[in-house]
Symmetry: C2
Subunit: 210 residues, 2 copies
Amino acid sequence: MIRTDVGFSLYANMTVIYNGRASSTAGPGNFLLIHKPDGSTFIHASGLSTPLNYQRPGSTILVNDDIITVTSKDASESIKVILHDVKEYNEFLDWSKAKPVMKGTEKQLCDKIIANIDTLLGIKIIEVNRELKTPIGDVDIVGIDAYGIWHIIEVKRGRITTNDLYQLWKYYTHLRITKICNGYMAAPAISVKAQGMLDDFGFSYLMVDH
Amino acid sequence: MIRTDVGFSLYANMTVIYNGRASSTAGPGNFLLIHKPDGSTFIHASGLSTPLNYQRPGSTILVNDDIITVTSKDASESIKVILHDVKEYNEFLDWSKAKPVMKGTEKQLCDKIIANIDTLLGIKIIEVNRELKTPIGDVDIVGIDAYGIWHIIEVKRGRITTNDLYQLWKYYTHLRITKICNGYMAAPAISVKAQGMLDDFGFSYLMVDH
DNA sequence: GCCTTCATGTCGGAT
DNA sequence: ATCCGACGTGAAGGC
């Protein structure tokens, strides 16, 4: 009755058991199971954005009477669903693959910063490096001024937290071995604690927005 | 026709426009829209685990002909769905609220480490602090030996990455001001780069598993 | 409400 | 394939 070769949804009273990286049980309860043609499967309860349980694309689904088994591609993870009472079953044909086209990402915030870098820093920058490769990671933006001073900018699209500062600090301590450096955190907001730590490090905060 | 006071799913050819923290567009395509009684709404395309677009619980949904608008609780975010061709509509009553009961979490890995801490460290520990509060965050485990040396352990349930080390470094630099400290990362695995950086910091890796 | 960290995080990009 | 870092991260817990 259930076609595993197409997308479908199943609203039912069920119990869900997961084993893999972790393990969990849920239910019994009235949940919605969704299976997509890419092999991914999700079980949604009410009250949470994240699914109660899931398997990622590439999984295989097997239906045996009132037991559904979903196994991940490498067979390291699986969920078992015990159906107690099926209420709705629907098939979805020609399900589209698609990704949203995003705007307002960190990448685009970087664009904006680079376009206005002289104004933001209050210094004339003569060379800009983006995603500068270092052995310990990529630096978002490095602007070099006429004196050869390196202005290191770590960009965050959201609010700067204390942990974010260590990323800048990591690059700063690495680059200062060979260059004279200044450190900057650029974001729309910064937490109070992060601001305090920023001052301790001797870095500066650049207020930027999308 | 669409009841916004219950849970429902809508399989349709649609275009989705999001505005909020970022903004995005997707479609037109055949997607599945799910609305849960908690107010959350999700639009799933095939090929991704994460929804193409969504609003979190507490949102309000408004249906006007072939336009669906979902607005977040604080009205800072919204998605607009333009329906081009509705293929399926189903209502789901008595949708359960539930959370999975998890095993194999970091918390439980901590339990195991603490139970075997003497063996793991090769030192007799006379006092164990868990989730030790500091102004910059909580330290997973601190074991104190007979000499008063603090053994700081940062636990990860998965693989240790370079970024994880800065969390330990943060606590280490903070605590070493007043105590003699050793630093440890405990996890089932560690990346090559993280291992190298760990050595540079003078920390140790503890191999632990669930 | 702000801040911090965990997560079966997921996902994309680079090596 | 592994590694690394962003994410509209989401969710939980503490203050």
